[in-house]
């Protein structure tokens, strides 16, 4: 296509812009700046908050030196733009020659890596499973976030509980009240005073105007480590038939959930972490922790588990750097407890559990990219050596 025509066609001009080295350099520079700022910010704000604000976002405002607000694109947006730039510039526009395949291969690998990042971000779930020796479980729990569960106390095991996802109440300010109702429930549920990090305190001597049975929810500053935050809320149960009101406090660290009797049936209402079920059961047979002799430094963490599925069972060892991968789920040896346990005390093991459809994609991408770079740079090096050989003086 002649240059003049290319210049006049607005689509081609946009394509040329999107495919340009300039756009690539700008995106990479912004990513670099964002990575740097996001690293420094972790000191004060913790990993979770920084990750949400800088790396999982489309836009953000960074305050430089505590006074100068500067809007910046988030890493999520930048990676989408980088993907477009790569497709346009490195795949569609780049010359494709069997003699120089390195760059095409390497850039394809980066596309795979970015796609993997997207799939992981959107479709992976992760949490942990804590088992004492001898215990079994098919469920794992998220590290963060909360759901509201309403369940009949005497419901048979496996009966469906009513779950209100966090997205339905997480945006509430402490002064807001939100009412939930369902045909399955003989009452309406009003949630108020929702706090992201709270503690239940006696009202005695406090200035709180709201409270239940002499206790109130104290709102605490948000902990930089998201796992440490404990949400809390006031709950009002309004019976549909009688219009009777019951009030309570929902706080996940209470030893028993809030229960209320409506029409002769006991209901439990609780705030808890989201949970997922795996299609098999893990039994912790034995947990072993060895330290380097004469020190408290851990040398080996090791869980002997049995995987039960239908009638089959399999003995497996899960240890640091040796996870169990099965049916799309991966179980990693994460931690253990109780930390100060004396010999003979029953131990528990904590597994990080992840389901990530793109689990192995980074490995494939790494092989593809490294291969591509090796081919390309080796060709360049040979070219350089030939040139130098012609030029260089004798030593």
């Amino acid at each position: 296509m002649p240059e003049a025509e290319r210049q006049s066609n607005p689509f081609l001009r946009i394509f040329a812009f999107l495919a340009s080295y300039g756009v690539a350099a700008v995106i990479l520079t912004l990513l670099l700046i964002l990575t740097f700022l996001g690293t420094l910010e972790q000191v004060d704000h913790g990993l979770f908050a920084v990750q949400e604000r800088y790396f999982n976002s489309l836009f953000l405002v960074h305050i430089f030196f505590g006074i100068l607000p500067v809007p910046l694109p988030g890493a999520y947006l930048l990676m989408v733009l980088l993907f477009i730039n790569l497709v346009c510039g490195a795949i569609i526009r780049s010359p494709k020659s069997w003699r120089r395949p390195g760059m095409l291969i390497a850039h394809s690998g980066i596309l795979l890596l970015l796609l993997g990042a997207f799939v992981t971000y959107r479709y992976s779930i992760g949490g942990n499973m804590r088992l004492y020796e001898g215990e079994a479980s098919s469920e794992f729990e998220s590290y963060t976030g909360w759901v509201l569960e309403i369940v009949m106390v005497d419901a048979p095991a496996g009966a469906d509980a009513l779950i209100i996802p966090e997205s339905d109440f997480a945006d509430m300010a402490p002064g807001d009240t939100r009412t939930f109702h369902s045909d399955r429930l003989p009452f309406e549920l009003a949630i108020s005073g929702y706090g992201k990090n709270t503690r239940v305190e006696p009202m005695l001597g406090s200035h709180s105007m709201i409270g239940v049975d002499g206790f109130y929810l104290m709102t605490l500053p948000r902990d930089p480590e998201e796992e440490q935050n404990v949400a809390g809320a006031y709950v009002t149960v309004l019976e549909k038939e009688s219009g009777k009101r019951h009030e309570g406090i929902l706080w996940p660290l209470e030893s028993h959930p809030y229960t209320v009797e409506v029409d002769g049936v006991d209901w439990a209402i609780l705030l808890r972490r989201p949970r997922w079920t795996v299609p098999f059961t893990i039994v912790l047979d034995k947990f072993t922790m060895e330290t380097h002799p004469g020190t408290n430094m851990a040398k080996v963490f090791l869980s002997d588990v049995t995987k039960l599925e239908g009638k089959s069972q399999e003995q497996i060892k899960i240890e640091m750097n040796e996870p169990l991968r099965y049916k799309g789920y991966t179980f990693f040896q994460a931690s253990w407890g109780p930390q100060e346990a004396r010999p003979g005390v029953r131990l528990f093991s904590v597994f990080a559990v992840v389901r990530n459809p793109a689990d192995k994609w980074p490995l494939y991408a790494c092989i593809v990219i490294t291969g591509g770079l090796l081919i390309h740079f080796s060709q360049k090096l040979l070219l350089y050596l030939r040139r130098e050989h012609r030029r260089r003086p004798a030593l």
Partner: protein, 650 residues
């Protein structure tokens, strides 16, 4: 002639700087009241190869002594003055004095105090110099106050403590370590309140702890009888029992006694065996080992008997350690430290740089220049061989790949940078990469030495569970550190370009600058390959151990920043946004990013890579960044100047 002067001035300054760093910048105001007695060489050699379990691993006592001395004294040689004469003590000799000649050891200027305000704070008169070394005798009147203050400061979080508080805590910890050495043999040196006659009518002389351990039932009987006659009374037997229990708490500084059962991994101290004796009679083999150790202080004044006794103890311990397959690398480690590979390679790197600098005096084609260049190649290759030998020996001793600690990254990055620079020299033979090879070698060895002294802890530590994987240490860690080395090498070459342009050197030789540009470009590509592969491999490792490929952890981010910067350089160059000047100044900035990733992120005190936390390097890092920032500005200035020169005159 002027060039010759410049080179000599530079070389002298370099040597002086190295000497100053190696020499003692502290002073001890006190001379020794009595001259230390020398230990015979064969005795010293035997002690060196005695194994000790410390920090979770078996090591020679020589290594233990060296790092203990480094922690307390700040050096691995102690200079003592007595009657105008200077005596040098090696770490093992110092340790032997602490163990067997406590009266003399307490007068040695053992404790390094960086700031005399610590001494003032505990109520003592400081030496004239702010930085000085103090003996235990000098500190003794205020030791209680020192521990009291350290206890208070320990309540403050490590990040919130000021310099004085940290130094006070460190001094208290050092004094504590020293006291454990001084009192290690108390159980074998100090007789109990009871005499041997009190227990066995036919025996005479003082009763020692080891003998009493065999008679604990009799002691218990005497104690019970005494208490039934006069409850709560004190008597020699009560005193002796409390003495023995006291030794169980104080004789714990050195785990020198291998357990008899191979299933038991923890080596014992005399204190632990004393406690064990209270729970039941010690097995004969254990008692024999303890007795052999306890007999050592008794014979210390008669060298022949001492040596004989030492050989006996050495034989017993090594025999058992060999049976437990724990002795195989002890002698190799002693030989490794005796070889001083990294020290000699530093000296040879300096010599090689001098040789290259001299070769610059004449034109490249002259005979003298060619001879000096060849000498320089040999002088760079030799220390590199020593450097690599040192790394390989460490790998054999540890049964690990070359890099698993921050200290080892310095050694490895240094070796890779020198090797890559030599390879480049082989390719283009401009004598630039050769000079950089020796400078990078000097820098690497100097930094390794400084870091080792500053940290003063064993550089071959046990590894936490997550790092206990030779596969990932060999792949991810080595690859990503090669990426670091490449970033630093590119920055080093870029310095030559910027400074040469700035000072108008080689103005008539555009091919010189073109060659530098090609080198930087090549090294950036090489760096991208390794830093990218290393970073992704790190993610794959994290996916296998923590369940996530990427977690935006500071160390991961640091590695990503290096990858991104290399990509920026290459894409900006391809797009024509940067040319020669841009490439070089960008490469200098790349060196700053490597420094951030390598050292800077550790200072943030957050993240999962906690094996790399370090403190006190912030100042050095800021100075480095300021200098590099200055180089970038100079590069920009030189570029501006070149733009103002009419094209035809270029």
């Amino acid at each position: 002639m002027k060039r010759l002067q410049t080179i000599f001035v530079f070389a002298s300054a370099l040597l002086v700087a190295l000497q100053v760093s190696a020499a003692d910048s502290y002073t001890a105001d006190n001379a020794l009241p009595a001259a230390p007695q020398p230990w015979p060489d064969d005795v010293v050699d035997l002690w060196k190869t005695i194994p000790i379990q410390d920090g979770g691993r078996l090591k020679p006592l020589d290594t233990f002594a060296a790092f203990k001395m480094l922690k307390l004294h700040g050096k691995r040689t102690m200079r003592l003055t007595h009657a105008e004469a200077t005596i040098k003590l090696s770490p093992i000799e110092w340790l032997l004095d602490c163990l067997f000649r406590a009266d003399t050891a307490v007068t040695y200027p053992t404790f390094t105090v960086d700031n005399s305000s610590v001494i003032v704070a505990i109520g003592l008169a400081p030496h004239k110099k702010k930085r000085s070394r103090y003996s235990y005798t000098e500190l003794q009147p205020s030791i209680e106050r020192l521990f009291e203050l350290a206890g208070q400061y320990n309540e403050i979080g490590a990040q919130q403590r000021n310099g004085l508080q940290t130094m006070t805590i460190n001094l208290a910890s050092n004094v504590n370590d020293f006291e454990f050495l001084l009192h290690y043999f108390d159980f074998a040196r100090i007789p109990l309140a009871l005499s041997a006659t009190d227990l066995t009518p036919n025996a005479d002389g003082p009763l020692m702890t080891t003998a009493a351990l065999q008679m604990l039932p009799a002691l218990r009987q005497i104690y019970l009888e005494g208490q039934s006659r006069e409850p709560g009374s004190t008597s020699p037997v009560v005193e002796s029992l409390s003495q023995i229990l006291h030794y169980a708490d104080t004789s714990i500084g050195l785990a020198l006694l291998p357990p008899p059962d191979t299933d038991l991994l923890e080596w014992q101290t005399p204190g632990q065996l004393i406690r064990q004796a209270f729970q039941g009679p010690l097995p004969a083999s254990e008692f024999q080992l303890l007795q052999a150790l306890a007999d050592l202080p008794k014979t210390v004044e008669t060298p022949d008997r001492f040596k004989e006794q030492l050989q006996k103890f050495h034989g017993l311990v090594t025999e058992r350690a060999e049976a437990r397959s724990e002795y195989s690398k002890i002698r190799l480690e002693v030989a490794f430290y005796k070889g001083k590979y990294f020290y000699y390679s530093l000296c040879l790197y300096v010599l090689s740089f001098l040789s290259i600098a001299l070769s610059w005096l004449s034109s490249a084609d002259s005979r003298s220049s060619r001879i000096l260049t060849r000498a320089a190649i040999v002088l760079v290759a030799l220390p590199l061989i020593l450097h690599i030998t040192g790394i390989v020996l460490r790998c054999i001793i540890r049964s690990r790949p070359p890099v698993s600690t921050l200290y080892e990254t310095i050694l490895f990055i240094g070796a890779i940078a020198v090797f890559a620079a030599l390879l480049m020299e082989y390719m283009n033979r401009q004598r630039i990469a050769l000079a950089l090879a020796s400078l990078l070698g000097i820098g690497g060895m100097f930094l390794a030495n400084k870091y080792e002294i500053k940290e003063a802890v064993d550089t071959m530590p046990s590894l936490v569970a997550v790092l206990d994987t030779n596969f990932w240490l060999a792949t991810h860690v080595t690859t990503v550190t090669i990426g670091y080395a490449a970033g630093l090498l590119a920055a080093a070459i870029a310095h030559v370009y910027v400074l040469a342009k700035l000072f108008g050197l080689k103005r008539q030789k555009p091919e010189f600058f073109q060659s530098l540009t090609r080198m930087v470009y090549g090294v950036v590509c090489f760096g991208l390959l390794f830093s990218f592969t290393g970073t992704v491999l790190g993610g794959i490792w994290a996916n296998d151990s923590w369940g996530r490929f990427w977690g935006w952890d500071p160390k991961e981010n640091g590695a990503l920043m290096i990858v991104l910067w290399n990509l920026i350089i290459l894409h900006a160059r391809m797009g024509g946004y940067i040319r020669e000047y841009g490439l070089h100044t960008f490469a200098v900035f790349g060196g700053m990013i490597v420094a951030f990733s390598w050292w800077g992120v550790n200072l943030l005190g957050v993240g999962l890579h906690s094996y790399g936390f370090t403190s006190g390097v912030f100042q050095a890092l800021v100075i480095f960044w300021c200098i590099e920032g200055g180089i970038i500005l100079l590069g920009f200035f030189a570029w501006l100047r070149s733009q103002s020169v009419p094209i035809e005159s270029e």
